[in-house]
């Protein structure tokens, strides 16, 4: 039986070296420490008769430090976290850091494009960039889809639903892209 069980689908492989996991747990600890340090400078109004505005921050930050430290201890003892599962996930695959960096980069680009170029342009860039980062082919199809999607969203949200998305200099004159 046991030999059969081992043939069951592969489970998420935990990171080989838990360095990343320890670093992430330390993020919780450092946020907590930073919070504990700065909480002391929250002003307390003289009229305050209760526990004041500092007590709850101290509790929460203390909890962050304790939980983060606890996770570090657990990981060092070999109890690593169980990565989340999802439908489109290949749990055996290696992390594709390049794709991740591209996606983050395109979101940043999107942020800086919204105001100067308008929302539809920024959205089309984000969509085509993200799809390209995830290996969508061919490129002309990606770009066509993204332009159509951006215009439809601008029309539905900016025009029909009255969400004021800036149409940008290119589409400024087209009435139905505004609310």
């Amino acid at each position: 039986m046991s030999s059969l069980v081992s043939e069951s689908p592969p489970v998420a492989t935990p990171a080989k070296r838990p360095t990343g996991e320890i670093l992430f747990a330390l993020v919780f600890v450092s946020v907590g420490v930073a919070g504990l340090v700065t909480a002391g400078s929250i002003p307390i109004p003289p009229s305050e008769t209760g526990i004041g505005p500092r007590a709850f921050p101290y509790i929460v930050c203390g909890m962050l430090v304790l939980c983060g430290a606890g996770v570090v201890l657990q990981v060092l003892r070999g109890k690593v976290g169980q990565a989340e599962d999802s439908e489109d996930l290949d749990v055996t695959a290696k992390t594709d850091w390049v794709a991740l960096a591209k996606l983050v980069g395109f979101v940043v680009l999107h942020i800086f494009l919204i105001e100067p170029a308008g929302w539809p342009v920024a959205a089309a860039v984000l969509f085509s960039g993200a799809a390209w980062s995830l290996d969508a082919k061919p490129l002309w199809k990606v770009i066509t889809v993204s332009v159509v999607l951006a215009l439809v969203l601008q029309y539905v949200f900016g025009g029909l639903l009255g969400v004021s998305l800036p149409p940008g200099p290119l589409l400024e004159g087209v009435a139905f892209f505004h609310g």
């Binding site: 526990i51 709850f56 290949d90 979101v107 929302w119």
Partner: protein, 506 residues
């Protein structure tokens, strides 16, 4: 009588159209793989920004039920079940689909959801005003007790790792602290940054964690190649047979009465109820039917699906009457309500009775529409499931960015979204549940206000927190819930291990 007034609003043709739209969009988005109900509500929030409150609530009622149902369609039809919330449906539903009975599985899920949703909404209709009447008499000490229970169940019980759940909870509480203190108007953790003075908007955190975090996480390990779908067979044999009806109706009812009570207490909402219902059906099945468990038993789809929907209605009881969200989806609903200056709580039924009853009436309507829409539209959902993954995740990114931008029409909010999204990525990667963070962020500020009020009333005597009989009852039940969950967890591990073994040994 008030309900009838609600119906008279909800049944106006325009509002019926809104309800239809909400159910349709909710299901369509919920069907998308990787998108759970909480993420559906978070992603679809912008579509209601320009609507009047009644219309927005009606749309949300539709999205709420549609998103729930959409998830189960995914787990029945997609070859790779994943999300924990629908894992129980996947256990049997996926096997049924592989055996060519996908249409029957979808039908028993749809009809079961409808029956359970309707019964549960009736229960909600009668229970909510009673609870609200009772809740008017609750003091700050009692609220502190209720919220402690909500925190601990969401943070400690639901994930695989207690410490990581509590860490996620603490981080949510911390983000909730950023901004101006409600009681003294002092700035806390704003570091003199003007964008932080108003606090971090809930929508940014939720969309960042659920949508952006999930998209980044899936992108990092995307399954390449064609999407494996199980074809839905058509024809006479595919539909529910007399035998199927006979085997389904009891699980539907049992699921309803398991799901609703679990939804109403802060003990984990839908997930726990589906598991309990599955375990019950497995135990009650006899003979040949019992042997089918693990290979596609219809009871194993009918019961949990009903329980899931009944719990979804049950969750609305504490949400509407106490203002306490007990699941991430409920936290999202509360955020949506607050955008329209609707503050759920004991006074909601008095102050905004017309709106609440419209909401409840539209739950009935939405439920019926779900049934009417879903059976004929299965083909469309299958098409949606086949969207090439690069386009799907690119689309999720665009929608997340749209949602974040339209909160205040400020590009820097999209920056906050990105930071939270990266955080969400690492939380998934290292096994931290994100739901506690979302719930804590919304409950934290309310909790602090009540805690400080209780302590002020008692001149800072902490024993006062245990002085009210109601609070004591709550704490004792919490201890019982923890004991029960410890027992359940062991059972769940056993049940989840069992079907895998059977499948392999065949």
């Amino acid at each position: 009588m008030l309900l009838l007034e609600g119906f008279s609003t909800a049944l106006q043709p325009v509002y019926l159209l809104y309800a239809l739209g909400g159910v349709f969009v909710g299901t369509a988005v919920g069907v998308l793989p990787g998108i759970g109900p909480a993420m559906t509500v978070a992603l679809l929030m912008p579509i209601t920004y320009a609507l009047d409150p009644a219309a927005a609530l009606i749309v949300f009622a539709g999205i709420y039920y549609g998103g729930m149902y959409g998830g189960s369609t995914t787990s029945i039809l997609l070859n790779t079940p994943g999300e924990s919330s629908s894992i129980v449906t996947a256990l049997e539903g996926n096997k049924m689909a592989k055996a060519g009975r996908g249409a029957a599985a979808l039908a028993t899920a749809a009809i079961g959801s409808f029956i359970a949703g309707t019964i549960a909404t009736v229960l909600l209709t009668f229970l909510a005003p009673v609870v609200a009447d009772f809740a008017v008499g609750l003091g700050p000490v009692d609220y502190v007790a209720l919220m402690v229970v909500a925190f601990l169940t969401v943070g400690a019980l639901l994930g695989a790792s207690v410490l990581r759940g509590l860490a996620s909870l603490a981080l949510g509480l911390f983000i909730g602290l950023i901004g101006i203190d409600d009681s003294t108007a002092q700035q806390r953790f704003t570091f003199d940054n003007p964008t932080l003075v108003d606090g971090v908007d809930m929508v940014l955190v939720a969309v960042g964690l659920f949508a952006l975090g999930e998209a980044l996480y899936v992108a990092s390990k995307l399954r390449h190649g064609p999407v494996e779908l199980i074809p839905v067979s058509k024809g006479k044999n595919a539909w529910l047979s007399k035998e199927d009806w006979k085997r389904s109706w009891k699980p539907w009812l049992r699921g309803t009465f398991i799901g609703f009570p679990i939804g109403t207490v802060p003990a984990g909402g839908a997930d726990v109820s589906t598991f309990l219902s599955y375990a019950a059906e497995r135990k009650l099945a006899k003979g040949a039917n019992k042997a089918q468990f693990g290979k596609g038993a219809i009871e194993g789809v009918a019961g949990p699906e009903a329980a899931n929907n009944a719990a979804a209605a049950g969750v609305l009881v504490p949400l509407l009457t106490l203002g306490i969200p007990t699941t991430a989806t409920a936290a999202m609903m509360l955020t949506a309500f607050q955008r329209y200056q609707i503050q759920p709580g004991p006074l909601l039924f008095e102050n905004q009775g017309a709106l609440v009853w419209t909401l409840i009436a539209s739950l009935y309507v939405g439920n019926l529409m779900l049934l009417v829409l879903n059976l004929p539209l299965v083909g469309l959902w299958v098409k949606i499931l086949q969207i090439p993954r690069p386009y799907l995740y690119a689309g999720i990114l665009v929608f997340a960015a749209l949602g974040a931008f339209s909160v205040n029409f400020s590009p820097s909010d999209v920056g906050i979204l990105l930071v939270v999204g990266i955080l969400g990525y690492f939380m998934r990667r290292y096994g931290y549940p994100v739901a506690p963070m979302v719930v804590a962020m919304i409950l934290g500020p309310m909790f602090e206000v009540q805690l400080r009020r209780s302590l002020q009333l008692s001149q800072n005597d902490p024993t006062a927190l245990f002085s009210s009989p109601f609070a004591l009852v709550v704490y004792v039940s919490m201890a019982l819930i923890f004991a029960a969950s410890w027992w359940l967890r062991r059972r769940q591990a056993a049940v989840e291990a069992a079907p895998v073994r059977e499948q392999v040994s065949v």
